[in-house]
Amino acid sequence: MSQAEQTETVDEDGVIESVSGPVVTATDLDARMNDVVYVGDEGLMGEVIEIEGNLTTIQVYEETSGVGPGEPVENTGEPLSVDLGPGMMDSIYDGVQRPLDVLEDKMGTAFLDRGVDAPGIDLEKEWEFEPTVEEGDAVEPGDVVGVVEETVTIDHKVMVPPDYEGGEVASVESGEFTVEETVVELDNGEEIQMHQEWPVREARPAGEKETPTEPLVTGQRVQDGLFPLAKGGTAAIPGPFGSGKTVTQQQLAKWSDADIVVYIGCGERGNEMTEVIEDFPELPDPQTGNPLMARTCLIANTSNMPVAARESCIYTGITIAEYYRDMGYDVALMADSTSRWAEAMREISSRLEEMPGEEGYPAYLAAALSEFYERAGKFQLLGGGEGSISVVGAVSPPGGDFSEPVTQNTLRIVKTFWALDADLAERRHFPSINWNESYSLYKDQLDPWWTDNVAGDWAETRQWAVDVLDEEDELQEIVQLVGKDALPEDQQLTLEVARYLREAWLQQNALHDVDTYCEPEKTYRMLGAIQTFNDEAFEALDAGVPPEEITDVDAAPKLNRMGTAEEWEEFIDEIENDLKEQLRALY
């Protein structure tokens, strides 16, 4: 949480009146809604969420064991804000932007203690500031005034804060500075530092929203190929436990071609976050080859950390994402899982004894969800140029039932839906994205990109695959009743082709060094190889070759090895040749 410019002046002290879990009420506190307050003798951080007469209700971001009535409450007079500036990449924060590594140092133990605060960015560290403006230049809010090399991958752009007026540059510094030192001064007296603050519950201003036309390439065949997400788009991944939500999210964080990744572990497992912390510094970014952490900001509020901080971690994450968007970057934000966030809202709401909506969730659930997803998009920036935020939210529906409120309210907003399927997961078909239920509304607007960058006949090839899978779905119903052998020969062959589509193309092994990332060309070529098999097989069938002989050719099972083949171009060329040769030899 923001301490950088924390004013020491206390507006008015209040007194605790009652304590019930994370909800504390205080009397005589002079505070505004959403002000941050320090509660009790230990100074636990909290936020004002209700004011009624002389009584102020506070949600506390830390454990409240042992806190009792009569203890003081101190108001900071500022809303919950994040510190924005160089140093956020390669960091790991809790839900209120306290760096977890710093907390470990300060607390001296592996367990999270209470009442310890730390600024979101290192205030002592000096950064090399390189100005991009000169004295006399006119600058407006959002304009870049200088650049700092934040990590090997990311140039951090120092901007005129959006709430400044702007004007003529009066003086410019260059060299090493801490984030709190002024680097640019304007003629109207406004001073620009590398550090900004922004209240998390308020979207950072930007220009108009545009229609996204570029895909967020994820390197995952089923996602890129069938259900693409646009840069600046929104997607939801709902699925019951064990269906692979987290692996899917992590694959996106690892391989998607965003400039910046903000990964929010919201109310999920501690060990999962640890895996990310251990893996990401060692994995190379597929675009630059630098460590993945150099473009990643992690926010970890695990399920056993205080529930109020779980409520805020989504806002902390999206505000950080917006800040990098303002620099003109394409940001991808993963939230795992939005259901835990909704549950945190429900828990706080029920402690406030609010009238519950559906399944006990607060009535403002839908509003909160849409507000969050609306902060995604491709924007024109205040300072010129474009930047985007793509949001991918995991949803954990109770019992895997997609009709529950969080899934339903999310589906009303997002345009890409990756439905995870427990049945597929059980047979270890990963990623277990169900191709019949999922959809992407970005398909048409992204097709031109594929046509220009990958292959002219991309749209037709994909449609062919979709048709085969649809047909298989219908045929399977019949097979369930009468068995495969009772089908006509051409339909048996279609089933075989569909099987290769599923096993060789849709399935992708996240743990295999090669298969874990599949570039768009490879996605296309693999599909092409299966289509070659399809075309040649039906030719052979027409020529009177029995289906068993067709499916028995040596080259066909090799289709399953395409994903893991290292020299994939040669490998696929070879398969296509072999398929043609062997199948034509049959007649």
């Binding site: 304590v19 042992g66 977890l100 367990f111 060990n271 006990g360 019992g399 039932d401």
Partner: protein, 469 residues
């Protein structure tokens, strides 16, 4: 310490008392009844002038004249290495007639969250000797892997088998430190079940390296809130301060959740799904997340909670929320049980999320991941075909399909089936897997690396089978 005689309301497990000085949230309370009994409770809500207290032992016998003492501290567990070998009740008092426990220190039972930054990712393979677990859903040190079971299924036998057999293979060779300290937290189990556990502990000598917490079915329900926290506090102390590898068995989590619901109802809270409180996810997470490894510490806490799914329904809130927190689940199956498969583990809906990092070359064997994937896929296919067989009969199916059907049968009868006293090494498990997979045509093994197939696939299966017989 101030004493009050100001009880204004008694309702279910809750007591409300007026106070004239502030009382901390979660503080421990002692209530002395007129007949001299002392009951313990905890502050659930503290407002100026009035507090609500949840009484662990139940509110029977309390009247308006009972005196209430606030101890000014939250609940603590006295911990020491000497707890090993002891049997305690659900509130942590010795019931084995042994000497008084002299604590090394007293630790808060709520426990603090482990900083995710300080955790170490669990990746040390635990060999349980159970093929369905080792081969298909590998357990690693620091994992929380619950057993999802149903009433009348032998989950206790499986838990005991794991507790008995669990070792970490490398350390075996050094001949030390391979055994786990076992913390057993029983919540609302019957005396008979408790005896079963105790007999087994005594028979195998496991009691020496165990701490047992017993809250039986006829003990107060509210006490069940405390029992797992006492157990986990002890586990954390042994693991992170005394370098033990600790295996915590909690049974039965369903009873724990029922107690949670009871208190929620008594407090007139807005209920969530099926009447369970809305904060049940957070509450369960505060228990389950107390498993793990910490960087720079020798010890580890591994959890095997057991829960019985009401109506065998895994979408019921208790298994559902548990599955979202734990790192997988071992699913017991009623059909397999009635077929006499021991242990009746259905591997298809079972899962170990930490498996992938705990297996492979240098940890178990290079072929482990592929073999397990292939067996999953093949068994799933065989299972599907069984439905079809019911309709069209086996003869109507192709030769390929029949092979998959045979595979599924053998998988259950030979791989999963092993009995509660058989301890299979991981090598045995994987070899058995290859034995089964070699029944399938080589081309069908599309999940396995070609080199591994060349190395392990048994070409002449019929000859092999004869030898095996």
């Amino acid at each position: 310490m101030k004493e009050y005689q100001t009880i204004t309301e008694i309702s279910g497990p809750l007591v409300f008392a007026e106070v004239d000085e502030p009382v901390g949230y979660d503080e421990i309370v002692e209530i002395e009844t007129e007949d001299g009994r002392t009951l313990r409770g905890q502050v659930l809500e503290s407002s100026e002038g009035i507090v609500s207290i949840q009484v662990f032992e139940g509110t029977g016998g309390i009247d308006r004249n009972a005196s209430v003492r606030f101890l000014g501290e939250t609940m603590k567990m006295p911990v020491t290495e000497d707890l090993l070998g002891r049997v305690l009740d659900g509130s942590g008092n010795p019931i084995d007639g042994g000497p008084e426990i002299v604590p090394d220190k007293r630790q808060d039972i709520v426990g603090k969250a482990i900083n995710p930054y300080s955790r170490e990712y669990p990746e040390e393979f635990i060999q349980t000797g159970v093929s369905a677990i080792d081969g298909m859903n590998t357990l690693v040190r620091g994992q929380k892997l619950p057993i999802f079971s149903g009433s009348g299924l032998p989950h206790n036998e499986l838990a005991l088998q794991i507790a008995r057999q669990a070792t970490v293979p490398e350390e075996d060779e050094e001949g030390e430190g391979s055994e786990f300290a076992v913390i057993f937290g029983a919540m609302g189990i019957t005396q008979e079940e408790a005896n079963e556990f105790m007999d087994d502990f005594e028979r195998t000598g496991a009691l020496e390296r165990s701490v047992v917490f017993m809250n039986l079915a006829d003990d107060p329900a509210v006490e069940r809130q405390v029992t797992p926290r006492l157990a986990l506090t002890t586990a954390e102390y042994l693991a992170f301060e005394k370098d033990y590898h600790v295996l915590v068995i909690l049974t039965d989590m369903t009873n724990y959740c029922e107690a949670l619901r009871e208190i929620g109802a008594a407090r007139e809270e807005v209920p969530g799904r099926r009447g369970y409180p809305g904060y049940m996810y957070t509450d369960l997470a505060q228990l389950y997340e107390r498993a793990g490894r910490i960087e720079g510490k020798e010890g580890s806490v591994t959890q095997i909670p057991i829960l019985t799914m009401p109506g065998d329904d895994d979408t019921h809130p208790i298994p559902d929320l548990t599955g979202y927190i734990t790192e997988g689940q071992i699913m017991m199956d009623r059909d397999l049980n009635s077929q006499g498969i021991e242990p009746p583990v259905n591997v298809l809906p079972s899962l170990s999320r930490l498996m992938d990092d705990g297996i492979g070359e240098g940890l178990t064997r290079e072929d482990h991941g592929d073999v397990s994937d292939q067996m999953y896929a093949a068994y799933a296919e065989g299972e599907d075909l069984r439905d079809l067989v019911n309709i069209v009969g086996r003869e109507a199916l192709s030769e390929r399909d029949n092979k998959f059907l045979d595979f599924a049968d053998r998988f259950e009868a030979e791989f999963v089936q092993q009995g509660y006293d058989t301890n299979r090494s991981i090598d045995d498990t994987l070899e058995l897997g290859w034995d089964l997979l070699s029944d399938l045509p080589k081309e069908e093994l599309n999940r396995i690396d070609e080199e591994l197939i060349a190395e392990h696939y048994r070409e002449d299966e019929s000859a092999e089978a004869v030898q095996a017989d």
